[in-house]
């Protein structure tokens, strides 16, 4: 059994973004990170590996050559191997899932696939579910507390206002990981040194004969939302300021 963790490289949350060519962003000077939910996915995958023992944990990414650094980070954190599906092509989520499915079959399937429930660039939550459909494997989203026993995974699915479903999955399966109750580890120096020596195989969608990649969802226009006007500070003693705030919320903003 393999464990495969899919990671996506995204712009840092703090990055200011400038639209380029209508549907893209200007990538100059952008700091790239692994999408935060994928960081939890890496940790959950490492926990599964520890419990299962004799498995290979492979980090997988899809994207242009810059994404190699995301794989190096995953290796530094403890992944045994990495696989880079290299493509400059703009894909929709269905196309992404087709590429990932092909890569996963190349790495080794059946396997346990772990990935973040969404990436913080397009903030969509379809890819892992499309992937599961491609692989004909069970899937769920927003999972935490993943554990593994003989041939079975259990996990909590966070739903509304603290409510949870406790689910079990047979193997192979796809797990969409949500925010877990810990801060993901940072790579240590030894991990970083080790990660530099790993040879990462690179394949393109053409190499793996992936078909039907023309998008059924295409980007038309990327734009900034309208700027809000500068707000106002209400001065005076607390009693006075509070009275004025309530008046403004009621009469000016009309929200209470």
């Amino acid at each position: 059994m393999n464990i495969i963790v899919c990671v996506k490289q995204v712009p840092d949350t703090e990055a200011s973004l400038i639209v380029k060519d209508g549907v893209g962003i200007n990538e100059a000077n952008i700091k790239w990170i692994i999408s935060p939910y994928d960081e939890y996915a890496i940790e959950e995958a490492l926990k599964l590996k520890k419990t299962l023992g004799n498995v290979t944990l492979t980090a997988l990414t899809l994207g242009p050559s810059r994404c190699e650094s995301a794989l190096r980070t995953a290796l530094a954190l403890g992944a045994d191997a990495a696989f880079h599906m290299e493509s400059e092509q703009v894909l929709d989520h269905m196309g992404t899932a087709r590429c990932l499915a092909a890569a996963i079959k190349e790495i080794g399937f059946p396997s346990i696939i772990v990935m973040g429930k969404q990436a913080i660039d397009d903030d969509a939550y379809m890819t892992h579910i499309y992937l599961a459909e491609q692989l004909n494997a069970p899937v769920s989203t927003n999972l935490t507390n993943v554990t593994v026993t003989d041939n079975e995974i259990t996990a909590d699915r966070e739903i509304d206002e603290g409510a949870k479903e406790h689910l079990s999955f047979s193997l192979p399966c796809v797990l969409g990981i949500g925010k877990c109750a810990y801060t993901p580890k940072l790579p240590n120096l030894m991990g970083v040194m080790k990660s530099k020596k790993v040879l990462i195989p690179k394949k393109s969608p053409v190499d793996l004969d992936v078909k039907e990649l023309s998008p059924s969802v295409s980007a038309l226009k990327l734009f900034a939302p309208p700027e809000k006007p500068q707000g106002r500070i209400i001065g005076g003693e607390p009693e006075v300021a509070v009275k004025e705030l309530v008046r403004l919320l009621k009469e000016e903003a009309k929200v209470i």
Binding site: P11, T13, S16, L17, I25, P36, D92, M94, I120, D121, D123, A124, Y125, M126, I129, E133, P138, S140, T141, N142, T154, D156, E158, I159, D160, E161, G162, A163, K164, E165, H166, L167, S168, S170, K179, T183, S216, V217, S218, A219, L220, K221, F223, A224, P225, K228, G231, R232, I233, I234, P238, E239, A241, V242, L245, V246, L249, A253, V255, I256
Partner: protein, 313 residues
Amino acid sequence: MSKLGIFLEIKDGKFKKSNHELISFASKQGREVIAILCAEKLDSHLTHLQGLNKVIQLSSATALLNDTLSQVISETIKKESITDFLAMATPLAKDLLPRISAKLAAPMVCDCVKIDLSAHEATKPVYSGKLLMNYKLNGERYIYSVRPNTYPAEGPSSTQNPVVETLTVNPQSQGMKLIGTTKGASGRVDLAEADIIISGGRAMQSKENFTLLAELAEVLNAGVGASRAAVDAEYASYDMQVGQTGKVVNPKLYLAAGISGAIQHFVGMKTSKVIVAINRDPEAPIFKKADYGIVGDLFKIIPLLKEEIKRVF
């Protein structure tokens, strides 16, 4: 004219508030609207469903998992010749809708803040809401999830009762099982649907002090949220977290008490119609994002605010 399908949610026997937004939006499209929902009894919900052409009630003796549910809904969409299928972007729909999209090979855009059904175009926030992307969907059927508090809820468009069809569903889950459930906090206002949210940050100093916010929330019928710093310090539970790795909320009024306003928090609440900040530090970044701000001690201001609102309303 092709038919429009909507998925409505009944939660703990109650008709979800955000359903009304979807019904209002669908009713304005000049199309035949078919609603699909899971419920054992429809009687108490019927007044909400007036004006819809047809309601398909999915009934099951045991809880259905989304693999079964998506299979049944996909078959229903085909059988009823529905071309556009919409749901509110709730925790349930976020797991359910992509499955339907995959099964029907129908393109999907999630968390839409603008939808043009006739042009098959939709706009959604991307990069944590820093930018918006307008997408074109190409296919024979189209799936959209709608961000709550995007479209106004206007009540039933007529007093005409819909045609009701009941479908008994047998669970057919393969490879996954529901072992059990844990109930959430009862009576708490759902943050994703809340009109007003009162949130606290690390400056709340303790779990007990969050009671101050809960008391203010009670007089406003508001939800209580928290920043990641407050959740990490265990002053609040994770399901209250607003921000990048928490909930993205869209209320009419968002009041941030003792929250400095890190970008990770801001991206979770920036689309709020009105933002109020209360913070002791006049340099806190939250004041740059707020419509109204008070510089001062939240432990003084929050109780005063509660009394003033009680006095005025």
